[in-house]
Structures are given as structure tokens and as C-alpha cells.
Amino acid sequence: MSTTTTVTPTKLWSGGKSPFNVEYGKLMMWYFLMSDAFTFGAFLISYGTIRFSTNGWPNPNEVFRSFPFAPEGINAPLVFVSVMTFILIISSVTMVLAVHAGHNMDKKGVVRNLILTIIGGILFLSCQAWEWNHLHSEGAWWGHNPFLNHDGTASSTNFTNYFFTITGFHGFHVFSGVLINIIMLIMTLTDKFEKRGHYLMIEKAGLYWHFVDLVWVFVFTCFYLI
């Protein structure tokens, strides 16, 4: 025991010590997220390339300016998407708190924060469903672009194609994240982790959930702000 604690950094790979100091599952989750980051990166860079190769592009403030239950034709750019962003940030915080509670073997805290995270995820998905439905009612869909470029010239369908593909891909990640969190909640409630003696599984689900939040930071900036 005493030898493992006195291992010097130069002998890191000489055995007797885990080089990454994390369990297998967590390391593999990191590698999966890295590959997923490249998938999203490829999508967003492709969007950027097309946007750079086109003379005009629709102004996001004119496209995304509606809000649920507000009168039609309301001009509220950025408002609805800010709500969505804050929902995802807060759900990320509750997920961190769930992971933290898991470290302390606090079952009640894990359950409470997981439920809050699941509610946040469902709220985000509902917002996205409303926005998609609203854009669809305006005539926007894959292959249909009713919006004009900011300078009043005709816009190509690239705008809607990229928007629906990338936000759809992200929304599907949120959906699977919610499913994973629900499974984690059921496993917590049936004392699976209590019997195992640790809540490391929550940590892996948490990594996935934070990644979904991370991707939204990029999607939100690329589509709504810039």
C-alpha cells in the first residue's frame, strides 16, 4: 500500500498505478464524446463553409423572433432562445449536483437532482418542438426556405437544411440524454448503486448530459447569435 502512494510521476507507466486514474467506463465515455464532438464539429464547419461561400444569408434576428403564446408577428428576437439556453444550463447544474450527491452516497440528493435534470431536458425538448412547429407553419422545412437574405435577395435552402439537421441532431442527443437520465433514476430508486457501493454510473450519464449542453453553446452561437 505504502509503495503505491509514494510512486513518483516519472514511474507513472511502470505499473501498479492506473495511468488515467479513472475507471474504464468513464474513459470510454470520454472517447465516445470526443468522437461525437468531431461529428458535431463536422456539421458546424460544413455549415460555416457553405455560409462563407454564399453572398447573402438570412438575418437570424428576423427569422427567430417569435415566442409561444405571444401574438403573431411579434418582434422578439433572441428572447425564446435565451430561455432555452438557460433551461439547458440550469439542467446541467442540477446534473452536476446529482453527481456530487452520488459522491457523498446521498441517495435522496441524487434522486431529487436527477428528477430536476429530467424536467429540464423535457422542457428544452418541448421548446424545441414548439419552435420547429412554428417554423414549419411559416413554410420552413428541409428543402423549403421562406426567408430572404438580410439584403433582400433570394436565399437558398441551405439555411433551413442546416438549421433543421443540426438542431435536430442536437435535439436527438437531448432526447437520448433524457432517456439515459430516466434509466439512471430508475436504477437509483431500485437501490442498484446503493448495492454496488458507488454512484459512478451517474457520473458517466452526467458527462453525456454536459456534452449535450456544451454542443448547445456552439449551436446557439452559430445559428442564433452570429
Binding site: T49, N55, H100, H103, F218, L225
Partner: protein, 153 residues
């Protein structure tokens, strides 16, 4: 072994709940600044240099937010260096990935504007969209009214 492992993870755990709330506040403030810049940007000229500068600032803030999420929420900062390197170094490919593709897109636009008159012309013809939708709306009730008259007659 199991015991020493948990001790080790607790040691590089970081500030715990306090740190979580600190990062939450930082992320919220960064988002609010981003949104404020977004609103401020609306008053600027559509392809002006100042708007481009604000967009650049927003991208920097976006990177800062990404750093806080990965470093603190995903705990990467509290992992050992080997793990940090195995994740961060491959992601450095993105630097070239983004530079090369955006440069390529920009170059393609220049080439088309120079050698493709049709492409250039298309991007100068203005389309009256708002009137178009309005007339559509106006036409629709008119037609409905005609049909009603016909049925009355």
C-alpha cells in the same frame, strides 16, 4: 487499493458545491453578456466592421463557456494530466479543420463572384417577399368571397 483510489479522487475533487455555484454564475454572466452583445449588434450595419468585431467577441465568449463546462462540470480540470492530454490534444485538429474549411468556402465565393456571372447576378436581385405574402393573404379572402357570391347567386 479501492480505498486509496477513492481517497485520491477526493483529493483532486475541487471545491465541491461552492465551485459548482461559482461556475453556474460565471456561465450565466457569460450568456447574459453574449445576449447583450447580440441585442447591441442588431443596430449595427449588416456587414460593418463593428458587427464583425462583436461577432468575434461572441465567439471568444463561446470558447470561454465551453472551457468552464468541460473543465468544471465535466471535471476534466480535476483529472490527471494524462487524461486531459488524451482528450484535448486530438481536439486541436479542429484548429486546422476550421481554418482550412472556412478559407476554402471564402475562396469559392470569390471564384464564383469573379467567374460566374449568373451567381453574381442572383445575389443582387432583390425579392419582394413581404408584399408577396400580404397579397397572398389578401387574395385568399377575396377568392373565398367570390365563391360565396357565386353560391348565393
Amino acid at each position: 487499493m479501492e480505498h486509496t483510489h477513492t481517497e485520491a479522487t477526493e483529493q483532486h475533487e475541487g471545491g465541491g458545491t461552492k465551485e459548482i455555484w461559482k461556475v453556474t454564475i460565471i456561465l450565466s454572466v457569460l450568456t447574459i453578456i453574449e445576449l447583450a452583445l447580440g441585442f447591441w449588434m442588431m443596430g449595427m450595419g449588416l456587414e460593418s466592421a463593428s458587427r464583425l468585431a462583436v461577432k468575434g467577441t461572441i465567439v471568444i465568449l463561446m470558447m470561454a463557456k465551453a472551457f468552464y463546462i468541460v473543465a468544471y462540470f465535466m471535471h476534466l480540470k480535476h483529472e490527471i494530466k494524462n487524461l486531459i492530454m488524451t482528450i484535448v490534444v486530438p481536439l486541436a485538429l479542429f484548429v486546422w479543420f476550421i481554418t482550412a474549411f472556412l478559407y476554402d468556402g471564402n475562396s469559392f465565393r470569390h471564384l464564383r463572384n469573379t467567374y460566374d456571372p449568373h451567381f453574381k447576378e442572383q445575389s443582387t436581385i432583390k425579392v419582394e417577399k413581404k408584399e408577396h405574402t400580404e397579397t397572398k393573404e389578401k387574395e385568399a379572402p377575396k377568392e373565398a368571397g367570390k365563391e360565396e357570391k357565386k353560391t348565393v347567386e
